[in-house]
Amino acid sequence: MSFGRFPLQREALAQLSKEALIELLLEEQTGGFNHLAASEAQLRSMLDSSLQSVTLISLEHKVLAFNRRSAETALRVFGQNMAVGQAVDNFIFPEDRENFRKAMQWVLQGENYWVMKSFLDAQQETRWFEFNLIPVRNAEGTIIGACMATQPRNELMLARQNLQTSQDRLQLALKSARMGICEWDIHQGTMHWDDQLLELYGAHAFSRVSPLETWFACIHPEDRVRMQEEFLSLLEQGQERCQQEFRIIRPNGEQAWIQASALVEKDVQGQITRVLGIQQDISQMRESQEQLQFQAFLLNTVGQAVVAVDASGKLTFWNQAAENLYGFSAMKGRGSSLFKQVSAPEALSQLNAISENLYQGQSWSGELPVRNRDGSDLHVLATITPLMGESGKLAGVVGTSSDISALKAAEEKLKQALQEKDVLLRELYHRTKNNLQVICAMLGLQAMVEVEPRFRQQLQDLENRIHAMALVHQMLYRSEHLSRLNLKEYLQQLGVLLLESYQAEAREIILEHACEDVFVLMDVAMPCGLIFSELLANIFKHAFSGRRNGTILHSLRVDGEDLCWEIADNGPGLPEGFDPEVQGNMGLQTTLVLIEQQLQGQFQLNSSEQGTCWQIRFCKNLYLERV
């Protein structure tokens, strides 16, 4: 037994008188009570100084004791003064009372109970509290009640909420960026996957923690060895971070490009503690990059120079062909803008006109004089297209151009060659006509000394044939084409010459033409002229002998690829049984050769008392063009 301030020995007590003993007991009891009162005050002071609300609850759910904070809370929240012996239910919200009873049952069985609860305060603001309910035991260990400690946890919960919000945002950001987070445990040889990463790999069936081999198995076989080596290298070489791109094959067979960034964490001894990683699906980015690279490759492959200029006239892009053509790189640092450097001064007015079109959103195509890096003048065939901004204003210009300087030079040479050819051909026709003049002169001279009329006529016929040939050259000489002439015009002019030569007009012989325009090569015109001369000469000499007048009908008609040619007179007709191939003179036989061989045509000779008609048919495009 112990009585407060000092222990009493049994022997000393035995020696005390009854009164002294009573006095001593009274003194001890008073002192004990005093001591107890002091201890309770200390305890209350301690409890009151606590920031927590503390309430002792009896087995019957009644208040045994409480501190000041608890009383204040009860008053503030429930509007009641807390007092010993009150039912604790008075200080529990009705909707929580059932849970509280269950919690008490739990605690009175020796367990601890913990819960976070929120309430709306008088200002309708949410207040969070942490409730701890623990059993209270006596000296013998018997549960005699419970202690409920309540602590405001607004700041904690706010921090938790903020943390949760941040985590939600992070997850959303990761999801939208198609990123996942992982952690490689190099000691265990495992990889920890987060939900987003599992989704990224399409590996929903995977465990959140799986062996490294599982991850490597997901990597495309062509990238797998490289990635294994890179991972090993990361661990062995002590790098702090690394980044790699590789392909994965999802369980459904899809391929995806992944960019993985790893961060190595080490302890103070430099030993790797963990490796954190972020993996991102960059398939779309790779696809876009590949498309851009392909487009860039295409732009650099095309032979045409492609340049882009912004609205201020500054060059913003040019491809390899443009570099080759203009040499923009060499022009840099020369002060004036690159665009101005390639613009030839003589093209400025043209460029101003083009600019007006561009500002109206219209493209322009045509030839432009430009200058290259050496200041050499070039000619380009260009197409300039405006790039209109969203506001509808000119945001820039894209131009494509090809060097046509060589083409222009070749064109000039060709023009020159054509002119030379033209001059040469005209000179040739001129010389031919001069030579024909000499032949005519010789025939004429011979005719002057020839006394025999028959021979003089033959010389005259010859001269007429030469004039027929000369007329072809004359018409070709005058024509634009130099190798084709209008057969209708030629035969009509030749007819006039022959009428004059044989003085047919004086004899009132009429030559009527019914011809279609048809252009033939001189290879066709020349034999036609000779045939026409011979047949008309025969008509003039024989068809109208003894008559003062006569009519010759001359027609030329196109029938598909053929020409149908008729020369008819209204004379008395040929002698019966006349065969031109047998009985015809040399001139007529020559004519038949020209029809059948040179023109590869056919003829038909119809003769009656009403006249004679030569029908000749041949292909108008018998020969190929020569000049």
Binding site: R426, Y429, H430, R431, T432, K433, N434, L436, Q437, V438, I439, C440, A441, M442, G444, L445, M448, E463, I466, H467, A470, Q474, Y477, R478, L497, E500, S501
Partner: protein, 125 residues
């Protein structure tokens, strides 16, 4: 034109053609007062002979002067009728001859009857 037989100068560098023209003209009753092959020779001749009534002038001549230049020089002496003859028959040639009034242009080969007809017309104008 005088009442006497017209005197004609032939300027032609092709000898056969010149001879042929001379024969035709003579046969038609004209006097061929001179037959030369170049412009320089024609101008030289004109200093020694009586001025002709008509000149038959080829355009392409031997020497440095062509028919047009020679004709211009001859026209400085007097308004003699000119009958130009050439194998050329293009617009440029026709344009060059526009300056010469009282002139006719024939293309080779020239038919004798046409030659005489044009000479007669020129002499009558």
């Amino acid at each position: 034109m005088s009442e006497s037989i017209p005197r004609i100068m032939v300027v032609e560098d092709e000898a056969t053609t010149a001879l042929f023209f001379s024969f035709i003209l003579k046969k038609a009753g004209y006097i061929v007062c001179s037959k030369v092959s170049s412009g320089e020779e024609a101008l030289k001749q004109l200093q020694h002979i009586e001025f002709p009534d008509l000149v038959v002038m080829d355009l392409g001549l031997a020497g440095k002067m062509d028919g047009v230049l020679t004709a211009r020089s001859i026209r400085e002496w007097g308004p003699v009728p000119l009958l130009f003859i050439s194998g050329y028959d293009d617009e440029q040639t026709h344009a060059r001859l526009q300056e010469f009034e009282k002139s006719v242009y024939l293309t080779k080969p020239v038919r004798p009857d046409l030659l005489l007809q044009k000479i007669q017309q020129l002499l009558l104008d």
